[in-house]
Symmetry: C2
Subunit: 339 residues, 2 copies
């Protein structure tokens, strides 16, 4: 092929031709995507993946990722896209197994940056034990996409015997969080504003191994929710609202690292509303609370019981001085584009 | 709720707060998305959909849609996203059943336009018999994203007894197209450049009903490929290349409407490289060619046999005067952002 749209030197950039479906698109697929993602499903190069799934109980989720900057302390948009989507599957009590990855690339993006993110997607998928089953790439004009956006969907296989959903929570259930909250939102904010916050990196991580351990132990897990946009506050209010019940949370039992706590105080942010990307809320029958907390502690000593499900349909936050406030969904903009 | 981020008047616009995961995001979901998409899977409002799938043979596909303009003669980005993704599933010989829909919205987008597209997604999904299982919405700053991008993934149930893939084509197989080519690309180009082309609208349509009929008739269908980016030219070269064989195509048997043909001539475009969104190539055992063509004719009288699979690994285009040229992947930019 004479015209080589992706030359071997390090200065190549994405052009509109890479999105046209012709020779340049194929060269990009062959040079960047197939080597990183190669597996028997993708190697067929058909319009979709042919799956053999030995279960009729599946979970199906989707997530668009528009984070800026593309690379942040503790991760990048590729790792975030894989783990974020896999975590949504895990929140259904399902093992993440197959992933679709769809890129919208900005004209002018250095191909070197694309390679780095594509490699990160591939590494994250291997780490998660999830197979990249299908993908797509589109290109938009310079100025239209901040480098790239990545949308993923995932299919997982659900465990038998569990109905994990907001509708399954019951009055008296215990509410746990799997670790300290708000590190992802704070790390992205610090990277974006070029604030130096020593030792602060995103909590980006996989939740399935912990969910797997909880389910394997046969614990009565009623609901799981990862603490992404809107943070713990949004997760509590959403799950309580959908479940038609309330919650009572003790503020001093919510784990917040000193770095996040002091930065949040200086910046006037509420850690309860800061996004995490590797933390979940676990609602479990109170009879299984200690076993659940033991399992969570094996991965993160900061895991903690933070409160209970109540009949009264409000989410109430108790502070250590005994005063109470009603939790509502965060208003306004919060931190834009943290996932 | 006092602060109403989506007021009832017709001038409301998307704000960054709609992407924050807080109250504004929830209001947008409740006002725009849930009413349009409501179904038992989505109404659970969990992180993902819980599917019961009575088959272990699935197809899984993904497609990002960045078309400009959002609304074009014969369709819009919503209908395109549903049909385009469903068509990829159909090309695996599978019935499209479940869809994920992920929106990247531009700050400032009129909520009225979003409603129109969301309703179009809902209508298209009903028409396709496909269930919207899960979704996501992100917001990026004004000037990014041209109104909106939509990424979809779909899950379909594959028919038993068929191995439809480029690797299944055989020398001597017949190659059919399901209708006249190039209308989608030309209609979008005309809309974008404000060229008046009378009677020209996109060929956007669902391919599964025709695939279903071909499979139900028990025909030896070896490969299917929808003619999207890169048009018929890219589809032929890709399938031949992946299948390790060649093709011989008679140029005068390729159906092109007079409107597309004359516009292409004036604009110096090759109809063979123009995108379609409701046309497919069918590679079928030559013994079943007449039955396959009869079935395709029931939907579109322009369906036609255009050539054969050959042993020699080149795609050769014969013109009516007996001269031949080698088909290759379209080079350069073609028409950017037609899907």
């Amino acid at each position: 092929m004479k015209a080589c749209p992706v030359p071997a030197n390090g200065n190549e950039r994405i052009t509109m031709a890479h999105g046209g479906g012709g020779a340049a698109t194929h060269k990009l697929l062959e040079d960047v995507f197939y080597p990183a993602f190669s597996n028997p499903l993708l190697d067929v190069q058909h319009d979709g993946a042919m799956l053999e799934i030995p279960s009729d109980r599946l979970a199906f989720t989707t997530d668009a990722h528009v984070i800026t900057p593309l690379i942040f302390p503790g991760g990048d948009i590729g790792r975030l896209a894989v783990f974020g989507t896999a975590n949504d599957v895990a929140m259904c009590g399902a093992e993440p197994r197959w992933l679709s990855v769809s890129f919208v690339l900005e004209e002018g993006l250095p191909v070197g940056v694309l390679r780095q993110i594509v490699d990160s997607v591939a590494d994250a998928a291997r780490e998660a034990g999830i197979l990249i089953a299908c993908g797509d790439t589109k290109v938009v004009e310079h100025g239209k996409a901040d480098g790239m956006y990545i949308s993923c969907s995932a299919i997982g296989v659900r465990r038998k015997g569990f109905e994990i959903a907001p509708q399954s929570i019951l009055p008296g259930d215990d509410i746990l969080v799997s670790g300290d909250i708000g590190r992802h939102g704070m790390a992205v904010l610090a990277a974006r504003e070029e604030i130096a916050l020593e030792g602060l990196s995103s909590d980006l991580g996989l939740l399935w191994p912990r969910v797997h351990a909880l389910l394997d132990a046969g614990l009565a897990v009623h609901c799981l929710r990862d603490l992404t946009r809107g943070g713990l506050a949004a997760a509590l209010v959403e799950v309580a609202g959908t479940g038609g019940l309330g919650m009572r949370i003790r503020e001093d039992s919510v784990p917040v690292s000193p770095a996040v706590g002091s930065a949040a105080e200086i910046l006037g942010l509420d850690p309860m509303s800061l996004a995490c990307e590797g933390r979940m809320m676990v609602v479990v029958d109170s009879g299984d609370f200690d076993k659940a907390l033991n399992i969570l502690h094996q991965s993160d000593p900061a895991a903690s019981k933070i409160g209970n499900v109540t009949r009264h349909p409000d989410v109430v936050l108790e502070n250590p001085y005994g005063t109470e406030r009603l939790m509502t969904l965060p208003m306004g903009e919060l931190l834009p584009r943290i996932c």
